[in-house]
Symmetry: C2
Subunit: 128 residues, 2 copies
């Protein structure tokens, strides 16, 4: 989810009813690349161990190739890495984000900016 | 939220932490235009009366001009309509949607389509 002056664009690649790739999963792939470990990546993003694994599991079930591969055990090579297929999908996803941002930013023009408040007025929902 | 072959794009215009315009609010404005009534518009979208009013209230609090105006009472003119300012904002929002769709659709190419499954594999979360 990118934020350009009050404009948020969220791109999701769907596999049936499941999100195969979205803002959270893309950020998780980036963190796994950086940390070389699923649990360390989740911690860096402030996610629970369970939620982190559910996101990885969903990605691996939604694509024909695994996006994240793990090496179990206690050896030096233990950990997780983003597969070449995962790298390609992440690159394509980031390109879609960039294309959507570039295409919409000029439409969030001064006129529209002048119409929107910086902060909402207080809610009148008490009157409902 | 538009759906182009597994690709969903959700655009939100933010006013602080509140969503000033998004897929649900844009659809509600369309329905108010069509039905001339907030409650009829909400019914047509399968929303509760309370939720419908909360969305209208949020829109009216997030923009300098009211997007929806109501005429109370029992007369012929009773009902709701989208203001000229609301029409302009809705048009700008739909243009952003279209621009994002047009920009990203070519990136959802055959190669990416071939990588994503039509339906996810069963969850292995029982193993967690």
């Amino acid at each position: 989810m990118n934020d350009t002056a009050g404009l948020k664009i969220k791109i999701q690649l769907m596999c049936g009813e499941e999100i195969a790739m979205g803002p959270g999963k893309a950020d998780l792939l980036d963190a796994i690349r950086q940390h070389g470990s699923i649990s360390a990546a989740g911690r860096a993003l402030g996610m629970s161990y369970r939620r982190t694994w559910l996101l990885v599991d969903a990605m691996n079930r939604c694509w024909h190739d695994k996006l994240v591969d793990t090496v179990p055990g206690g050896g030096r090579s233990r950990g997780a890495h983003v597969t070449p297929g995962g790298e390609a999908i992440l690159t394509a996803y980031r390109a879609m984000q960039a294309a959507a941002d570039t295409a919409t930013a000029p439409l969030m023009d001064d006129r529209l900016h002048a119409l929107i408040r910086l902060h909402p007025l207080p809610s009148s929902s008490g009157a409902l």
